[in-house]
Amino acid sequence: MTQHHSITLHLNGTAHAVSVEPRHTLVDVIREGCGATGTHTGCEHGVCGSCTVLLDGEPIRACLMFAIQADGRQIRTVEGLAHGTILHRLQQAFIDHHALQCGYCTPGFLMLAAGLLEADPNISDDALQDGLSANLCRCTGYVNILRAVRAVAAELRA
């Protein structure tokens, strides 16, 4: 009964042709349709931010958008951060500053931070804190997350 639609998601530079029901959220199709399970589903109603991805460069909640709406759009997920075995500087900073414990929120925080720093490499500390307040970490590692992102921001400014 439910109609399927053929769409193309451009995930980290690779085109994925997938068949979706309109009700399928972007995060579900990234994970199940494209097989990229780095992006996590948390609350599935827009509160926690663990599904944060970059849509045409902007951080969004992938649980609050239907995949069909992202047809033809450029999506970046945590899988797109590292170059081979060379970690993205944010990933390295998260390790260096112990910015993760269980790691469930980490892909969302990394993409949020990447979006913030790419949009404004000279971002103020206030704006950085405000931006990072979008996502939840239930190991309460906020201080170290902020420390890690601040360190990368300082590198970018240098």
Binding site: M1, T2, H5, P22, T25, D28, H45, G46, L64, D130
Partner: protein, 280 residues
């Protein structure tokens, strides 16, 4: 946490969009712009629209147009586009004060101004702004276009004057004359969370006396409301702390709160006082 099934439409013109709305109005057709409230409501199955009409592919709806005295905000303009730099002067300052309190950045990049109006949450900052500044809603259906005053548009909790076959095309806001002082205060338990209480205060001063005072409150009432008693007290008076305190008390005393609660009344008074005191 998965939405029920629906049929998806992505019309390319407004005519097609309103035709689809008219055709499927009986099957709970809904307009999808930012979806930042509707999609979670669908995930929790609080909303089960049979048809979603995605208006994002319609050219021009993401446009803001600004003249000397008014701003027109298209149906797909995101919260993020309505910061302090969206307009010069006090109007832009007020936009910036409010926008900062709307959820978080990833929500602001998707959610829309007009979507907030259609959703009509009692804690919506944009609904408060529309009431404070006497904004108007441009609504369209197959029968044509009509303009609705914000006061007449907001009926109560998540209830508007919009007919099932109508959609918001744009919101119209008068801007504020240079020299207008603008203030805003919001209390929420967590940054980015729904406002428990909020207030906008704007006024000008001519020959030492207050002119054109506007006070509006939200969160504590079922829909954003003006505070005529406080405005009357301020009009023509000399701005000073005692006057602001009395105006805030008047606003709180006459507010039709969602429930009779001394805490909410006190919060209302504090919000109005801080909006007035902070107005610059």
């Amino acid at each position: 946490m998965k939405s029920s099934s629906f049929e998806y439409h992505a019309p390319k013109t407004l005519d097609d969009a309103v035709a689809l709305l008219a055709r499927h109005a009986e099957e709970e057709a809904r307009v999808l712009a930012g979806g930042q409230t509707m999609v979670p409501a669908m995930a929790m199955r609080l909303a089960r629209p049979g048809h979603l009409i995605d208006i994002n592919a319609i050219p021009g709806l993401d446009q803001i147009s600004l003249t000397d005295h008014a701003m027109r905000i298209g149906a797909c303009v995101r919260h993020a586009a309505l910061g302090a730099t969206a307009a010069p002067g006090p109007f832009g300052r007020l936009l910036g004060l409010l926008q900062h309190h709307i959820a978080h950045l990833p929500i602001r990049t998707r959610g829309t101004f007009c979507g907030s109006l259609a959703n009509a949450d009692a804690a919506s900052e944009w609904c408060l702004l529309m009431v404070a500044l006497d904004g108007r809603i441009e609504a369209r259906s197959t029968a044509g276009t009509r303009m609705i005053d914000a006061e007449d548009f907001l009926l109560g909790y998540m209830t508007t004057a919009l007919a099932p076959e109508e959609m918001i095309v744009a919101a119209h806001l008068p801007t504020l004359p240079p020299g207008t002082r603008v203030g805003f205060h919001e209390f929420a338990r967590r940054a980015g969370d729904f406002a428990q209480s909020m207030a906008i205060a704007t006024y000008a001063v001519a020959q030492g006396r207050i002119t054109a005072p506007r006070i509006a409150i939200g969160g504590v009432v079922s829909r954003a409301r003006r505070c005529p008693e406080a405005e009357a007290l301020l009009h023509g008076a000399t701005p000073d702390p005692a006057l602001f305190q009395e105006a805030a008390r008047q606003a709180a005393t006459h507010a039709p709160l969602v429930e009779e609660d001394p805490y909410l009344r006190s919060l209302t008074e504090t919000s109005v006082l801080r909006a007035l005191t902070g107005a610059a």
